[in-house]
């Protein structure tokens, strides 16, 4: 398609193009601009739950993964205020779970950790909660560690076995919210499906067993370059 059929908008002074209906996050990516996202993955229905993708449009903050681009829209993204807000969100996520990165198999490939690196979180400004959440290691091929879950619900939206959701969101209506795993379905996952389940989870809450530490330190996804740099280095194509 030609540029003419796309809509034109701006992110931090840069003129960008989007397909009608495209979310700000997805359109930004296509234009070589990184807006951090944790609960959003291309291809899954947006959830708008983590709020890390906050951008400012017309003086109002909105989640860029749920808001569609509008013609002539002016989006603020890389501003000190928004970056500080994102860092604060990351800090809240770190203290509300148990994130012992040195002993976590996802370390180096973890999106939460990578966003913390990108925004240079040296220490969260809030007290650590050290909550007690469960670990369920019953399935042969995967384990579910709720201590690291950030409630992004990517698993709920993206992991199925024979058309049925393996993970579900529990405890609506005031009770303690958590993700629960259907043990029967989880036990039936194939090697490949188990690997995909691990990949869908942005953090180390869903892990494929006997897979940890497979990649040496220094060669993992976010060891050398910040998350989003692959988007920023991508050449814009039309």
């Amino acid at each position: 398609m030609k540029k003419a059929e796309k809509i034109t908008f701006k992110i931090d002074e840069k003129t960008c193009y989007a397909w009608p209906g495209q979310s700000i996050v997805d359109a930004a990516r296509d234009n070589g601009i990184y807006i951090p996202s944790l609960c959003h993955v291309e291809g899954l229905k947006p959830a708008g739950s983590c709020r890390i993708c906050n951008v400012t449009v017309n003086g109002r903050n909105m989640t860029a993964c749920t808001a569609p681009v509008g013609e002539g829209m002016v989006v603020e993204n890389d501003t000190p205020e928004l970056n500080e807000l994102r860092k604060t969100i990351v800090e809240v996520l770190f203290v509300s779970g148990n994130h012992f990165c040195p002993s976590c198999e996802k370390s180096g490939n973890c999106e939460l950790q990578a966003v913390a690196y990108r925004y240079q979180m040296m220490v969260p400004q809030f007290p650590y909660e050290f909550p007690v959440k469960g670990v369920d290691a019953r399935p042969d091929l995967i384990l579910h560690d709720r201590n690291r879950c950030i409630m992004c619900k990517r698993c709920v939206r993206g992991i199925e076995k024979d058309g049925k959701a393996v993970f579900s969101f529990e405890g609506r209506g005031g009770e303690h919210l958590q993700i629960s795993m259907d043990i029967d379905l989880a036990s039936q996952l194939s090697e490949e499906e188990a690997f995909e389940a691990m990949e869908i989870c942005p953090v180390g809450a869903i892990l494929k067993k006997e897979r940890g530490f497979a990649i040496p330190i220094g060669e993992r996804k976010f060891d050398k370059a910040p998350i989003g740099s692959e988007i920023e280095n991508s050449v814009e194509q039309d």
Binding site: N98, F100, P102, Q113, Y117, M122, V123, V132, D223, A225
Partner: protein, 182 residues
């Protein structure tokens, strides 16, 4: 320029951060031009003999002695730096934070698979031993900490860059590869 005075300690840590500090290799020769060590395992000075400019803290607080030493560091050092994940968030020792002390001790001294003969069911009870805290605390939840250097252990370059910045007053360089949580 007179040398800055440096103190270091390892609380509930594994000395890995100190080992990483020594990984600055030959820069240690430059370091002793910049600083003079006071209380530290590096020179084995056990008690403060001077007021210090910088205190490096490895490890979090798991017992009453850690708290005492940390408070003493706060008293005698102008600037305190939490070095490493354990000082910053408790680290691996804090994995016990969801488990009661009783359960931890019973596992360690009575029921654990590596416990040998302990027919009298003795748990360490010498009054000289420091008391375990209810959980392992990050240092900044006990005293004010001025700077934080993450990592397990923090990369030698991070420790070096931070020390040089503190001593010279120049801005700290933070290349992407040096700030890691593992």
């Amino acid at each position: 320029m007179s040398k800055k005075i440096l103190a270091t300690t390892s609380l509930a840590g594994c000395f890995g951060c100190h080992m990483s500090f020594l990984d600055i290799d030959e820069r240690i020769l430059e370091l002793i031009e910049l600083v003079e060590f006071n209380k530290s395992p590096i020179d084995d000075i056990k008690t403060f003999t001077k007021e210090c400019d910088i205190g490096l803290i490895e490890g979090g607080c798991c017992n009453s002695e850690n708290i005492e030493v940390l408070k003493e560091f706060r008293k005698h050092c102008k600037i305190l730096v939490s070095v490493g994940e354990c000082a910053i968030m408790g680290g691996l020792p804090a994995l016990r934070n969801g488990i009661s002390i009783k359960e931890c001790l019973e596992e360690a001294y009575l029921n654990g698979p590596t416990v040998g003969e302990n027919t009298e069911k003795i748990m360490p009870n010498d009054p000289e031993l420091p008391m375990l805290l209810d959980k392992v605390y990050p240092c900044h939840e006990i005293v004010k900490i001025d700077y934080f250097l993450p990592g397990c252990a923090p990369r030698a370059d991070l420790i070096w860059n931070a020390l040089v910045a503190l001593v010279t007053g120049n801005e700290l360089e933070l290349p992407y590869e040096v700030v890691k949580f593992d």
